[in-house]
Symmetry: D2
């Protein structure tokens, strides 16, 4: 049977990424509390394609994914990317897995337990070196400092999504990034709350008013201190309760670069 | 050229709806303030298919849509559905158009003007009679009465989406339904607010605490009073600021049916 | 601490549904091949609210969900709904769970194995009786009979989504509905295919050309024959390869109603 | 009334982007055929925030958007970004507008006319210089060369989305990028087709089989030749008809960089 993909291509154009996208697959992940967690990944897998070849062999990505589905972890993703490079004769392999991740939380006063969902991702690229980024999206409460300062009582507050991505030295738990986001908010949020918890969180948020700008700076202070983190981005999208659009803030820092604090970046 | 669609079908199964879905088309609508408004419709168009025919002629829906795109209004939609019935030799024609609709609003204190988007829809079915439903989705603020009552200060609040659908006698403006939803909320919301407006809305919401249940009941009281409305549904989805899920309430009423208030429905 | 929710409501309006929506939670399901399958549910839970009460107690839904998360099956969902009725003093409890469900499939020629995702749902309502609907969305290939008949060679084909919902007597596997949808298509589809499989499926689809209308009628014939099924709806949305919109067909049948085939419905 | 936003910030962290996101607003655009086109923009607007200030003034973005809504064009966007820089005392202003854009197309044989939707965007950043990117997403048909080569008859085909982004010298029409994408496909697609058109497109696609890799290379050849284009990215996502996931290819080229074609990039 003819292998059209292997035909020589005369157009002299190399392609940065060829592969599969929108693939949904069950995956098994490391979980700090319970060892492993089952989840469902939304997957992209790519290689580079040299100018000489017409096309890649898409089915091989799926074969590799199927083999590795029980071990989507930092060390195994390197093995997975190596396997892709070899099987597809590529110089560069890339994979992104987006997945929901659940953490059991305990309500602040009643101590009732429930699971919170965080949308996370692993993104790895292997050419001669491995580059790896992990990301979390953390829903929190933000309460507006301006609204609090100018109003007779109360302040508008809302659900915000704090997103953090990091490059790191050896290893970092998703839970560590989630904690940094939650500590940086006006208040963290929970799936199950009883009335004493609701009172506690309402008051806590009012005592810690924070703009989108404050949320990302608070997170940046914590990300700066974390020894394992080499590089990060952090954003907050506030789903404003007094508008139908969001307020947004974003910042990026590479700790590997020596900075002169007297110069603006 | 063979007309496969017209082949006789032997399976003896009539089909309730055949047609097109996910069609995006520019439309022109009636606007209470400015006469007409340009928008972009997301369109579904269907007919019934008798048991004898293999398939319908999908291209005819597009021809009709193209002809009617400048007059997506209640009276013209009846003409459109009649045309579909005739062109497709159907007993029943159906059309749903979802579209964003913008209304200029004036901030409560500063009086600055801006446009608010409301996601609306028209849904018409014509067989021997015409059935027609219009719907609006209105973003508002809700402030939790429980949180206010139990907390030392403040109360959690959030963006909520109040959805209203109605059947009516002669004519009703989208703007009337939008006003009913906004009046039923803790506070309506705006695209552009200056600080005195923000203070006003923060305080207003605190003075009008409302559960999802309150929002739909408040809207129901107003929908009950509106003489033109024969039937309605109303729901509120509160995008909770202390949870990552929503609180929700929904109710339906047919005013054409005589009700005995002593009996539960 | 005051219980605002329990306040007497004077507006004299009962509410059809109050509860939670947009809740994401890990669930455990029955799997025909392997006993159980872990998945992630997107959850709605509601009760009715009598005219006398101001609001419901939203946290109780989460408590019940947390307790039942390891047994989201037909028999357990009845228990879950009973528990909700009792805990929330309601006449009527409702739950809808949408979840991805994976089935291992074997490619037709190469016999390589991979997992296919199907988006499914369970929808239960318990008042004095239990009403229960299960649904599947099945991606398949459809190939256009008209395009085949009028063209010198080839025919346009595309991914279609066949959706089936059923009420049943005692029990039915999701896998049975998935098989009905796949058998009704021009060809079923797979996550992993080698070249001999691709040849097989290309030719199979060309030999079984089917309109959206054919897909739902073919499924209806099979659903009619299935003894366990009492009621069904089936639709097909064809993501047309020659248009940017979809072709769509839908039909509904209640086998419990005696029909006179000489009368149009 | 206190200006909390202007408070001095002691955390010594500058922020890359602060502003608004998820804002929907009607916009007016340049249209090659008819002069102007009304559309609805999905808008993001940002400035940088120096380390000394606590927060930005979000309402000013909306004021600028409201003033400029009737002229979202390349020259006016520079004015808009200048106005933002001035009003918000920023070093850098950024705006992204995503919008549907409709072009009238004429079917290849019947010559019937209909409107096709293309999702487009303008993305501008102004600091000391102006950087500007325009993008289009173009739905087309792709037909698989492998499936054609190995099958007795037919070939699987599907809707694909070709995305092109460019930086340019003076001016370029969205329509030029749309044409490049459509010419690079197996066949372009239409909203309204009669049977002779369907035959024409079915045969055309079979005569021009193209992988995702071919689509981006064909587009790259045309983008290379276009004198006005300085830099581009092009991708194709094929919504596979034999899989539930997509095949994908992406490449990027900066023509401003001198390249040695003997070296791999």
């Amino acid at each position: 049977m003819e292998d059209i993909q292997c035909q020589k291509d005369e157009r002299n154009i190399s392609i940065d990424r060829v592969g599969v996208k929108g693939l949904s697959y069950p995956v098994s992940l490391l979980d700090r509390s319970s060892g492993t967690q089952n989840s469902i990944g939304q997957i992209e897998m790519y290689v580079d394609l040299p100018r000489d070849f017409r096309a890649t062999h898409m089915s091989r990505f799926i074969e590799v994914m199927h083999d590795y589905r029980d071990e989507i972890t930092f060390p195994h993703m390197k093995g997975l990317l190596k396997t892709i490079k070899r099987k597809l004769a590529a110089e560069r392999a890339e994979m992104k897995v987006d997945f929901p991740y659940f953490v059991e939380k305990c309500a602040p006063v009643s101590k009732v337990r429930s699971l919170m969902r965080y949308d996370c991702s692993f993104h790895g690229i292997l050419d001669t070196v491995m580059d790896f980024i992990i990301s979390v999206k953390v829903p929190v409460t933000s309460l507006c400092p301006c609204s609090k300062a100018i109003s007779k009582y109360s302040a508008h507050n809302q659900r915000s999504i704090i997103s953090i991505s990091v490059r790191f030295k050896k290893f970092i738990w998703l839970e560590e990034l989630i904690e940094i986001a939650e500590q940086s908010s006006s208040s963290d949020i929970f799936t199950l709350l009883k009335r004493p918890d609701e009172k506690f969180l309402t008051e806590k948020a009012y005592e810690r008013p924070r703009f989108a700008e404050d949320l990302v700076r608070e997170a940046a202070l914590r990300l700066d201190k974390h020894k394992e983190i080499l590089w990060y981005t952090v954003s907050s999208e506030n789903i404003e309760s007094i508008h139908a659009h969001s307020a947004y803030a974003f910042l990026k820092k590479d700790k590997r670069v020596i900075k002169n604090p007297n110069l603006s970046e």
